[in-house]
């Protein structure tokens, strides 16, 4: 370990509320980057919009706090344009599952080579407390005066059904465990999804931390992360928040497939000069 977590800290002070779970996520990220000795100039952190999406501003690598819901397309563009970069997408549960849901589906399906970290507080933090797709059924929020009429979704089982090749769950209160998961997510070849339960003390109350801590339980060591059905079962356990690597398989990745296509193209047309390109336009 030659790099130091502090080296990844930008001089911008987080705007998060005191006690916000996102501080823990940020600390894990600093440590994970340091442990993996990621070169700051070869690392890009991309986010959408939300409290959580402010994170890239606090990390001294390349960073892009983009538009609500659009972290994944931007991250995909970065990775395809410059495949040697380490690309990490981050953002909130609303950002990734509501407005950004389609990009989540398709990025996972394409197995694009990025790590996607969702900071899940079961609420819209930045806009002051409306229901997110993860908000549990019946909860009262600013937009659900009579209780949420929709059942909250589990991001991990969705990710698996979308085709993500690596899926894990962490808890922001467990900085060490989360750090290890982040490292694995970044090292995974393909689309790695890490759902981190990261309490919003302001809109979900001060007890969220404690409640999650009580429910959080590491996956049993014998869990076979190659077993899709088992992974799905652990995702949806009643009353338990299983943490750890739920699912991990190896599939061809988008960057690999693009390289493959380039090779096929070059094999098919050994010469591809400008003259070749213009040939189709003349008799």
């Amino acid at each position: 370990m030659s790099a130091n977590a502090k080296d990844y800290k930008s001089d911008l002070k987080p705007v998060w509320c005191p006690g916000c779970g996102d501080f823990g996520v940020l600390n894990s990220l600093y440590r994970a980057f340091a442990d993996l000795e990621l070169a700051p100039h070869e690392t890009v952190v991309v986010s959408g919009i939300g409290c959580s999406s402010r994170l890239p501003g606090y990390v001294e690598t390349y960073g892009f706090n983009s538009l609500h819901g659009r972290a994944l397309p931007i991250a995909t563009g970065v990775k395809l344009a410059s495949p040697q970069l380490n690309v990490v997408a981050v953002g909130g549960d609303g950002d990734g599952l509501a407005i950004g849901g389609n990009h989540f589906l398709h990025s996972a399906r394409r197995n694009v080579d990025i790590a996607y970290i969702m900071m899940d507080n079961e609420i819209y933090g930045l806009t002051k407390g409306q229901a997110a797709p993860t908000t549990p059924l019946g909860d009262k929020t600013k937009s659900t005066a009579y209780g949420n009429p929709e059942a909250g979704v589990d991001p991990c089982s969705l990710a698996i059904s979308f085709g993500a090749t690596w899926v894990a769950r962490g808890f922001s209160g467990d900085v060490k465990g989360t750090t290890e998961l982040m490292k694995k997510a970044i090292q995974h070849r393909g689309f790695a999804f890490l759902n981190i339960i990261s309490p919003c003390v302001t809109w979900r109350g001060d007890d969220q931390h404690k409640e999650i801590r009580a429910k959080a339980k590491a996956l049993p060591p014998e869990h076979d992360s190659g077993n899709r059905e088992a992974a799905l079962r652990f995702c949806n356990e009643e009353g338990v928040v299983s943490t750890g690597v739920l699912y991990a398989v190896e599939h061809p990745t988008l960057v690999g497939e693009m390289q493959h296509i380039r090779e096929k193209a070059q094999a098919k047309y050994p010469s591809s000069t400008r003259t070749d390109m213009l040939r189709a336009f003349a008799l």
Partner: protein, 568 residues
């Protein structure tokens, strides 16, 4: 004896009308003739009526044919379905299927019945007939036929060549008095506007394309999906247009020249991300091929009605550049200008083309396809001392770095931010950064006052138009001036920022002004007025819906009517 003719072939899906037009156009291009070829289809997705119109000339031409000199009709019912779109000229020559008697109301035309139904490949047979009848280059057409079926079995080629020869010998050819005269010259390329855009993107150094299919822009995606991988780039078909423009902004942020192509509905969906590209100052290039609107509108027809959306869409004060192109050759140059401007000034650039330019095939000389390419400037180590990504500079352009560059790390966003890129919502910072971002438009206006001007230096009538309207206007004013009138035209190619000074000079140099455009709500006229004064008492507007190409005669008629009636 003519130096120019327009011919159309009309039939049903299986008749091969469009294929015949392709073959003919390719052959004429190889002889160095000037050709503009267009197609039209009915609503049926396949197998319905189709037609193909080819205008051939020994001198340069700028518009698709207005009135048809020679027509091949395999089937009158199909011809009827194009009512109002295919207009035979006075005295036009019509070869038609002899078994299908002609309708009564055709006006003054010369009908020549032919037994197409008896021929083996009736479209190729028709080509032979037309060759002989009109003095078209039969050897070249024969070569083009062979080349067209080049990958098929020998027998297929032979059968088609036989059909061609049978057409050549057809006695019906004798009915024609029209003969094309021309000098053979250097072979030309035959290209569509979409193809020119795609070739230009590659020449400009674009190595990442992300897009979502949409008529009439998809050929750009198709071409780049085939070519980018060959030269080390990549092409991604995304889940929608939001993702397409997002990936482009990502690719460009990462340092690679990136673009997307779409049409109206897609451009509408891109409005928000155009704002991010402008605010975070990440270059992006968007080709928008206009079609009839609003909403899904007329997806296969042309219109000039995305102008106001292109220049003004996206909430907030969002500087961007917009470049228009009026023909296939301009499609090439506009594209490279777009990349040059986007990369140098770090903002979104929209290229506005339209269906009529994007999908028609046109001849052009290969040596016209060159254009200076400018590269993105990545700050040097020296410039990186006290690096501020959004440094406020006299031109508004700030030093840029990109992932992979050591020492250039920065964090950006779509929030208002300070020179370092840190979020800042103070009024004073907002005003300063707005000024910085808009200053870039001044620099672009200075450096790229792109426009074309036709006609005399001072004129009785000055026509203002843009994009694909320029071709018919140019031909019309050439004819009018030849007839002793005094008409000029000004066509801005840079739409945002407009070449304002030159426009004002033009307006001052003409007694009367006529604005011509294919937008029902007069978008060009409205937009011009945001920047320059167009005094009511000497300005007239001819604005109509798209869905039908602007005709040379139409422009002449409108120009002539000007002194008689008010057009606004």
């Amino acid at each position: 004896m003519t130096q120019e003719l327009t011919l159309s072939i009309v039939g049903s899906g299986g008749d091969g009308a469009v294929a015949a037009g392709d073959i003919l156009s390719m052959a004429c291009a190889s002889e160095g003739l000037h050709v503009i070829k267009t197609e039209a289809y009915g609503p049926q997705i396949r197998g319905g009526e189709s037609s193909c119109t080819v205008r051939i000339s020994s001198a340069p031409i700028y518009a698709q044919g207005d009135a048809i000199d020679v027509l091949v009709v395999f089937n009158w019912a199909d011809f009827g379905r194009f009512a109002g779109e295919l207009a035979p000229a006075e005295g036009a020559l019509i070869f038609h299927e002899e078994k299908d008697p002609a309708p009564a109301d055709l006006g003054n035309v010369r009908l020549v019945p032919v037994s197409f139904a008896g021929a083996r490949s009736k479209n190729v047979f028709a080509l032979g007939l037309l060759s002989a009848a009109l003095g078209l280059p039969s050897a070249a057409i024969r070569t083009a036929v062979a080349s067209r079926f080049g990958k098929k079995a020998e027998a297929v080629i032979a059968a088609n060549l036989a059909a061609f020869d049978a057409g050549l010998q057809s006695p019906a050819a004798g009915a024609s008095e029209i003969k094309l005269v021309y000098q053979k010259s250097e072979p030309k390329l035959l290209m569509s506007g979409n193809e020119a855009s795609a070739v230009a993107a590659i020449d400009a150094g674009c190595r990442f394309f992300a897009g979502y299919p949409i008529t009439p822009s998809s050929e750009i995606l198709h071409f780049l999906a085939e070519w980018l991988p060959k030269i080390g780039g990549s092409c991604l078909q995304t889940e929608d247009e939001l993702a397409a423009i997002g990936a482009v902004v990502g690719g460009s942020f990462a340092g690679v020249k990136s673009m997307t192509a779409t049409s109206g509905p897609g451009l509408s969906l891109m409005a928000e991300m155009i704002g991010l590209s402008s605010m975070a100052e990440v270059p992006s290039v968007i080709v928008n091929v206009q079609r009839g609107g609003p909403s899904t509108g007329l997806p296969t027809k042309s219109e000039q009605s995305d102008l106001l959306h292109a220049v003004f869409a996206s909430h907030g004060d969002t500087p961007r550049a917009v470049i228009a192109c009026g023909d296939v050759e301009e499609s090439y140059h506009a594209m490279i200008d777009a990349f040059n401007i986007a990369e140098e000034f770090q903002l979104p650039v929209i290229v506005l083309t339209d269906q009529s330019v994007a999908q028609r095939r046109e001849t052009l000389s290969a040596d016209k396809l060159t254009h200076e390419v400018r590269e993105r400037h990545i700050a040097t180590a020296e410039e990186m001392v006290d690096f501020k990504r959004y440094r406020d500079t006299p031109t508004g352009v700030s030093p840029m770095s990109a992932p992979g560059v050591k020492g250039g790390e920065y964090q950006t966003n779509g929030l208002e931010h300070d020179e370092q890129g840190r979020p800042n919502s103070m009024f004073s910072m907002h005003e300063k950064m707005n000024a910085k971002r808009y200053r870039k438009l001044d620099a672009i206006a200075e450096r790229y006052p792109l426009y074309t001007r036709y006609g005399p230096v001072k004129a009785a009538l000055g026509i203002l138009c843009w994009g694909s309207s320029a071709g018919p206007v140019r031909e019309a004013i050439e004819k009018m001036n030849a007839a002793g009138e005094s008409v000029a035209a000004f066509v801005p190619r840079m739409i945002m920022p407009l070449p304002k000074r030159e426009l004002e000079q033009f307006v001052a140099s003409c007694d009367e002004i006529l604005v011509v455009e294919l937008s029902y709500s007069k978008q060009f006229y409205q937009y011009l007025r945001t920047e320059i004064d167009l005094p009511h008492d000497r300005t007239r507007v001819y604005a109509r819906s798209g869905g039908k190409a602007l005709g040379v005669n139409e422009v002449m008629l409108v120009a002539a009517r000007l002194s008689e009636e008010v057009l606004v």
